[in-house]
Subunit: 455 residues, 2 copies
């Protein structure tokens, strides 16, 4: 018989990994909730009419499509069958798997706009699927954790996102990170000022690679894409802002981009956002203003955010921004919003590499109760009950086995405490509590054991 | 533009539903963990070679299949294309969506058996997909919450499941339920004793409908399936056990099924399980022994469990049993286990119908901070910070709007407290706390507000 395998690009998460992942999920969820974001879940499948055309041509190709149920080929003509994959697909598959959480959110808003209270703040933590070529850190199924507020253009929402990013990472124990912010209007203004108005898209795509390929290659790319030497020379001030304080950057941008109304609006939005953040009294702000921050997605129209953990070479762990037109693709125009997305897989990698998971995040069963014989169960089973009632994770070795085997089981599962119950223990009521880490043993009564382990 | 729709049989879960669902998930997860079950997650997609043939022919048809990525039709011959859906499917789809959590669990155990510590206790809470015809209470995407222990045949595991079922429902607040238990060996013994040895499968299928179609129709069905009048007459004692105590049922079964070794083993297993449950000191046991309980799945070989909530006509909310051969289909024989599955959708329906959700389960944002003007933000924003640091869910209305509009927002979102901050409040530091339920207003300082709302 063939050994079973996993589809490529997918993963099982065993107990230890899962406990750590749950720590991340719980932390993000709690923080979202504290900021007043409300939970939403949408189906894994969406109609392809909802998904197609929303992620560009490449995205369409990466969508996983679901074969229609039943006799999907009935009614197909020879012509249909021989028309090739692209034309055949819509005839045999009308559903696809969720590609991100934004399009389903937009679909939900459109379908429920009659009953939604605006501004609507929702968070969503669910897997998404992409038929990308699997690689290190790139999977075909992975989780996104998004929080968005739509129906308002108040910059207070941007400030709240800055606050929330700090909260999430601090609650996770990732203290050393950088939150870069920028504003798309500044990029648009730069394009104006250097003489390529409207070409901020091309500019963004190139600048987005600054970290990876360096300044010279970015400029080469712009030259190839038709930017004049003058335009490129005019870009100079952009590269001289690194390492400066937020107020320095803001004042230099005001001077440089003075002639662009759009840029000045972007600068002012950033300035107000920073002021609002200050009003909250944010301690140890990790915010950095980076006018070269572009982020690929073309639908951002205002603030852009990106978070990287310092001390590891792992890509961004969080990102987002403001968009003007969440629901336009579904015929409902004008809904502005701002959102942030946390990448659980990368956050996991960061925390794993930097050893940031608290011990409790990896902890499974806290105590193994070991009766030496069936007699001893009369003491062991009620004790299990009591340990669990006290909120502890407790189990017993179910078979009558040699003591060594049961202790091996405790060690293999990294259970820190074992309670040993033999005939003496049954008679005296004094049970043996063994600390599996130190090896220390003590005779204690059941009450003391419950409080000791719970402490 | 066409209005977007949901694929049939799928659902969005908005904030209120989600909060209640999360209450169910959290409660089940915590209880699983307290009993020493460890979390596992498997991919949504499995290779069809893993899924096919595991759920019977009907199940195979209900599997959602995923169209291969890229140019799936390349290389197909005309013959392939025209062979019809059934023969074409394996050539264009090699993956399918998870149909239950048991087969992926078995696959995981087989793939990781070199490193797993046995007995292995895992829980898994993930959605599954079935291309069933949608109906009331039947969806194409729904969650399963399973806990299983494999690698032991100790009846202590059955007892633990009985305990855990009680814990889960009590922690949910579903006090009035019935946990029916039976043993497949008893059903096998009945088949022997009434003269149709080995036909307990047919017997089970018919008896399974007892609740729905009544005794006479069950007997009709057995007659149709070739059971003799003698056999059917011999079934009589089975119908005379309802409403009797566990010990009465056990003793009548012992007499009736005395001639079947298998049955007597089943009776003894049940007896021992009940004794073990008693040893734990389970208070207010809801266990009922029902020798007519069959449950459809043919892979059960020992104990069978089924839970129904009393006072509502909603099907079983939980079920499970012991199986002998979890991994046989993957060429690894002999792994015995016992498991229990909780149906979140039905539990939700029960709790909703009986009004059992605690108020906290539906609660979103706890307090809305309302600054009347931008000045007031200097007080409002730090207050938001403090409320959140105290673990409260707090938000502000982001736009400068009329007070009525902001209070309407609080009411629409069922936010119980609002803090109003105008110029007087900024000057005096005494803020207005409004209870949105009673309408009561009080002037309090920030400290008092934080502790008052947190109480």
């Amino acid at each position: 018989m063939q050994k079973p395998t996993l589809p490529k690009g997918t993963r099982d998460f065993g107990p230890e990994q899962m406990r750590k992942r749950l720590f991340i999920f719980d932390t993000i969820r709690q923080t979202f909730q504290r900021f007043g974001f409300q939970p939403l879940e949408t189906p894994s499948m969406e109609n392809l009419s909802v998904l197609t055309g929303k992620y560009g041509e490449e995205g369409d190709q990466l969508l996983f499509k679901i074969l229609n149920s039943g006799d999907f080929a009935a009614g197909l003509t020879d012509e249909d069958l021989q028309a090739g994959s692209k034309k055949l697909t819509p005839k045999i598959a009308e559903k696809g798997l969720r590609y991100d959480l934004t399009v389903p959110f937009a679909r939900y808003v459109v379908m429920n706009r009659g009953t939604l209270t605006l501004p609507f703040k929702r968070y969503q933590m669910q897997p998404v699927w992409r038929g990308d070529r699997p690689a290190k850190g790139r999977y075909r199924e992975f989780y996104q954790c998004d929080a968005d507020v739509v129906g308002t253009d108040s910059l207070l929402c941007e400030a709240e996102i800055v606050l929330m990013v700090h909260e999430v990472f601090r609650n996770l124990g990732v203290i050393d990170f950088t939150l870069k912010i920028n504003n798309r209007k500044i990029l648009a203004g730069i394009a104006e000022v250097i003489g390529v108005p409207g070409q901020e898209g091309t500019l963004s795509v190139a600048i987005d690679k600054l970290d990876k390929i360096g300044r010279e290659k970015v400029l080469d790319e712009l030259r190839e894409r038709g930017f004049s030497d003058d335009s490129i020379a005019n870009l100079e001030p952009m590269f001289n802002l690194a390492g400066k304080s937020i107020s320095q950057v803001l004042s230099q941008l005001k001077t440089w981009l003075d002639s662009s109304e759009t840029a000045i609006r972007g600068v002012s939005e950033l300035e107000q956002t920073i002021q609002l953040v200050d009003q909250y009294g944010l301690v140890d702000s990790q915010v950095e203003l980076d006018p070269t921050l572009a982020r690929g997605l073309s639908y951002y129209t205002g603030a852009i955010f990106e978070v990287k953990a310092n001390g590891v070479s792992i890509g961004s762990v969080s990102g987002g921004g403001r968009y003007d037109n969440l629901t336009g693709a579904f015929g409902v125009p004008g809904l502005s919003g701002v959102g942030i997305s946390f990448g659980v897989d990368r956050i996991y990698d960061v925390m794993d590499e930097l050893n940031l998971f608290p011990a409790s995040a990896g902890q499974g069963t806290q105590v193994l109760v070991v009766p030496f014989d069936t007699e001893a169960r009369s003491v062991a089973l009620p004790l299990l009950n009591r340990l669990r009632s006290a909120g502890l994770s407790a189990e017993t070795y179910p078979d009558m086995a040699k003591i060594k085997k049961m202790l091996d089981y405790a060690n293999a599962k990294a259970i820190p405490y074992v309670v040993l119950i033999g005939s003496e223990e049954v008679q005296t009521g004094m049970l043996t509590l063994k600390n599996m880490v130190t090896g220390e043993q003590q005779k204690l009564d059941a009450d003391t054991i419950v409080t000791r382990i719970g402490a």
